[in-house]
Symmetry: C2
Subunit: 234 residues, 2 copies
DNA sequence: GCAAAAGTGTTTGGATTACACCCATGC
DNA sequence: GCATGGGTGTAATCCAAACACTTTTGC
């Protein structure tokens, strides 16, 4: 047994722990990330991922929900954990280890508010993000990879789309997320097994043949998955 | 701007941060995890994942390497990050947030040492792990899923096998990791594109036709991957 | 009718599966 | 020779890609 260990144990309680909350949305044919312009030191005036310190009696998913709510007023959204970053010099004011959490939201459904952290916020296309504060570029890059993996293996794409969507919108979302063109006929064949609800509704105000609107049948999906009759895969 | 924030900032530096180091090995047809019997409070005498607090000027991968070395004397091994766990009550002695790291080792090549944390260590088959200290069962479960994903998408299986191995050993490893039987002929067809070096050597001391020994051609793999000519997929 | 995008069918080649069979070694 | 596991070939099937085609709307 390392004798010094129990003696020095208390000295280790000198770190701070933060969460960075990556909020992804989809609009104008691109996946966007919600960024804030910092209104405090360090990195005052620079663009960054919204984040906050974890409170002493808060669990991590709870802290992520709080940060998301303070920024977007959105509740009850699914949050996913990303990587953890803890280089000793990553925060100039002390040892702050941070964990990335990310959520997928419908941009139109919210008015993200500047609130406490920033006077300015912006939705930036993920492939056009410039230099950010701290090590946030590395956090963004690693989280995009995890997002892509989630999009391939779980039906989180529907979190990004409105309740009712066309099949073409779904295809464009995947094209945007993976930066590659897809064949329409083949894409539709691939998604044929996904439990969709075909609504009676159609697109409005388009000057071509209106597309049918679909929605994702969460109940049927859960039922099929629990019976191992379906596995989401894109 | 939240005025209280900068004033209270220092108060947040009261957390501790640990790493849990999951060391996986393969023997007797099963994937095993290295566990220790704790020789200190809390959870004295209970089985746990080896872990340690992160030192003030240590980066996370660095801390993981150190812990791995102290336990196994192994250096320069690839370490992979897993999930981060931070429930406020997960550690009875204070707020300790922990991050899982895992490594894949060749069991025969090392004599894991009890060292500072425990007088007793054991390799336990991953599907036979009983109740562990702290929230370590949840950490194990989540890390096994990440390990499986790694085994499907990256050539980490070779970290678990000796330098030279038979194709059947490789197949048994995958059968053990995913708990499913595989067809021999089809397995071999699937791995035909993997850059193997066929050695001139054969199995010794078997009472049937000896199998040819192969090794993984890391150089060729790196070359192919960098040219996007090959993508590991199982 | 024409433009534009929705939506579908057909062919092809490659991968996956199931299964049968031959081969080399020890005893 | 026989038992044991190593190692391979074939046919059926499924899946993905490429591409052409028809349909429905607004103007």
């Amino acid at each position: 047994m390392k004798n010094t260990y129990s003696i020095e144990f208390e000295k280790f309680f000198s770190y701070s722990f933060s969460l960075d909350c990556l909020i992804f949305g989809y609009k104008d044919g691109e996946i966007h990330l919600l960024l804030i312009k910092r209104n405090m030191e360090p990195f005052l005036g620079e663009w960054a991922i919204p984040g906050d310190l974890v409170y002493p009696n808060e669990d991590l998913p709870q802290a992520a929900s709080r940060i998301l709510f303070e920024l977007t007023q959105l509740k009850d959204l699914e949050l996913h954990q990303g990587g953890t970053f803890g280089a000793p010099d990553r925060h100039p004011m002390g040892r702050v280890i941070t964990c990335a959490y990310f959520a997928l939201v419908q941009i139109n459904q919210l008015n993200a508010i500047a609130s406490s952290w920033a006077n300015e916020i912006a939705w930036i296309p993920i492939y056009k993000i410039k230099k950010l504060a701290f090590d946030h570029n590395a956090i963004v890059d690693s989280t995009i990879l995890i997002l892509q993996h989630k999009l391939k293996t779980q039906p989180v794409c529907f979190d990004l789309l409105p309740e009712k969507f066309t099949l073409n919108e779904l295809q464009c979302l995947y094209e945007a997320a993976f930066n590659e063109a897809l064949n329409k006929a083949n894409f539709r064949k691939k998604i044929k097994t996904i439990p969709f609800l075909k609504t009676n509704e159609k697109e409005q105000n388009v000057k071509h043949r209106p597309a049918i609107l679909y929605s994702f049948d969460t109940n049927k999906y859960e039922r099929l998955v629990s019976k191992e009759l379906f596995k989401f895969k894109m």
